[in-house]
Amino acid sequence: MFKPNRKVLVSLGVILSLLLIVTGCGGQSGTAGQTGTTETKEPIKIGFLGAKTGNTAIYGLGNLKGIKFAVDELNQKGGILGHQVQLIEDDDVGAKDQAINITNKFITQDKVNAIIGDPLTGLTRVAGQIANSKNTVIMSAGCTGPNVVEIGPYVFRDTLLDSVAAPATMKYIIQEKGWKKIAMIISKNSDYSVGVSAVFKQAIEANGGSVIDEEYIQDGDTDFSAQVTKIKAANPDVIVFGGYYTEAALIMKKVREVGMKDIAMVGGDGLQSEDLVKIGGSAVDGVISFAGFSPEQPTPTTQKFMDAFKAKNNELPDLFAANGYDAMMIIAKAMTDANSADPVKFKDTLAQTKNYEGVSGTITFKANHEVIKSPVYLLQVKDGKFELLKKVPVALN
């Protein structure tokens, strides 16, 4: 009935067509980005990995704005080591399979010198594996979770780590402010929120505070009335929320609405964005967050960056833009110092970066090339602006 030889042929046909399609994918690979005006030498290629569309595009696009700004600045000054910098941007939609494909494309097709991205921890872990095994530097300008730089010597990040800043923040609010009864809100579907909240919780216990109410939300939620009603009933001294500014602003609006007029919210650098105030308005007054830099008392570097960025993009940079800018600039500096754009060479120079004064804070890589940003700034929103509350220095080791 079923002729074996026919089956063999059919199966072979399927394999062949698969192969044809796979290999047929060759040809042009789309590249977008800017090239310099004078192209005397091969440009240095930087790949941007991040979501430009989809649910997490917010972070990717933020990164991208900062990186583009840095690339323009570099190119105006003549590029790196006399090479123009070419940025190749690819949208991974926040999906792991796409991130893997793009990373491979960057390394083997585009032959980039370094990759900046992805702002999400999960995707950095996935892309980092590949980049590290192929000796290409990858620097995430957004991820804060564990198990990232441990992947290998080519994987970096330039963000303020929760494990450093969160305990300092909790120590301040419990011991200096005396807010001991704490209500925590955790965004259960966000790895950032779950991660930073765990650090907060540990620090709260270590500093003698107590979590009297724990509420869960999800990123993307808009209605928090149920949770806020419960928090009101628990009557805490302060609300600790490890999460992002959108949800934070909406929660605070609800908090004020139900009549908790003076209570503050404390969170991580996920709250640091102009949008917090834009969405939250007067409700977010008093919100405290930790950060790598202070926009109100900025260092000259940060000030210059903010002014120039605003002039160009007609908006203030958010944290992701600042981190993206720094990532590009640190890599550029490492290349210049190493006098080479070869990742094998400049990755060591990069790992030795100490006290680099970036726009998002002062950056040092520890012996295990994990990032340390010191000092940590505690900021508080006052009249719609982030103001410096306290500067906490961090030990470098």
């Binding site: 569309t53 989809g54 649910n55 595009a57 917010i58 696009l61 259960k188 509420e215 869960y216 939300i217 999800q218 993307g220 808009t222 209605d223 009335s225 149920a226 949770q227 009603t229 419960k230 009933a233 959108t246 602003a249 909406l250 609006k253 609405e257 139900v258 009549g259 949008d275 834009k278 969405i279 939250g280 308005g281």
Partner: protein, 292 residues
């Protein structure tokens, strides 16, 4: 107890929004048996229209609401023309995929137009808090529940008493027969899309005001939950959609009250599956006899 009452009010407001979106699902489904996955995006467009009117043109709340409804109406009719009408004679699955295409298109379009950021909604009127006995109700909540109730009542009267409404019900019963009786099926389907979409637009603007957040991907989850609400109440039934919406809203809020908020979404869908297993046509749906 005081807490519970408060949560019921919260749930009622949230449920009203789900119910408004669910109405559109139920109407379109009732007539052409199509799950319109682009429907959540119509809701999102309504919200953005309201936002733009209120923020850029500083209009008042009524204009923003009507504007949101108008644009959603146009969008709904457009979707029907472009992505559904050519597929009316094809398999239902093709039409479903087509609406998924529209959904992806619209949300990406909005990201390109307005960026992926969540945007706050400008204050259209002062929010006041009224204390009734032990619990509070905000004027936002009153407005939302009020507008939703008004629109639902208007829809109910329209479908029950007007000529077009009768034609709609006839079309839902038997499209071919209605066509033979002189009902313009094309027009009825377009009208259904239009009404459903404008309700979603209204829900969008109301959600914008109430939640104070508008975002290009806000439609996906809201759409799924509203669809679940429509099925829960009995798809094709207008009172069913209202009931389903309110139930899902209350359920979500109550899951927070009992400290299981992390399973909020699971509850909404879990109860849906349970109801379907006990009464496959939904709470108020009519049992369809197996046609042999």
């Amino acid at each position: 107890m005081k807490d519970l009452m408060q949560q019921l009010i919260n749930g009622l407001a949230l449920g009203s929004i789900y119910a408004l979106i669910a109405l559109g699902y139920t109407m379109v489904y009732g007539i052409i048996s199509l799950i319109n996955f682009a429907y959540g995006e119509i809701y999102m467009f309504g919200a953005f229209t309201g936002l733009i009117l209120a923020a850029t043109y500083k209009t008042n709340v009524v204009v923003a609401l009507l504007g949101g409804m108008m644009l959603s109406l146009v969008l709904g009719v457009l979707i029907e023309r472009v992505a559904y009408k050519p597929l009316r004679r094809s398999s239902r699955l093709s039409a479903l995929i087509s609406t998924i295409g529209v959904s992806i298109f619209l949300s990406t379009l909005m990201v390109l137009l307005k960026g992926p950021n969540t945007q706050g909604f400008p204050k259209l009127f002062e929010n006041k808090v009224y204390a009734i006995g032990n619990f509070q109700i905000t004027i936002y909540q009153i407005v939302i529940i009020g507008v939703a109730a008004f629109l639902m009542l208007a829809l109910h009267l329209f479908v029950t008493y007007t000529r077009t409404g009768r034609a709609m019900r006839a079309t839902a019963q038997d499209q071919d027969a209605a066509g033979l009786m002189g009902v313009n099926i094309d027009r009825i389907i377009a009208t259904t899309f239009a009404i459903g979409s404008s309700l979603a637009g209204a829900a969008g603007v109301l959600a914008g005001i109430y939640f104070n957040a508008v975002q290009p991907y806000m439609g996906t989850m809201a759409g799924l939950k509203a669809f679940a609400a429509a099925v829960l109440g009995g798809i094709g039934s207008i009172p069913g959609a209202m009931l389903g919406g309110l139930m899902i809203g209350l359920l979500e809020v109550l899951s927070v009250t009992v400290n299981l908020s992390e399973y909020k979404d699971a509850f909404a869908f879990g109860i849906l599956i349970l109801v379907l297993l006990v009464k496959p046509s939904g709470i108020m749906g009519q049992k369809i006899n197996k046609k042999v």
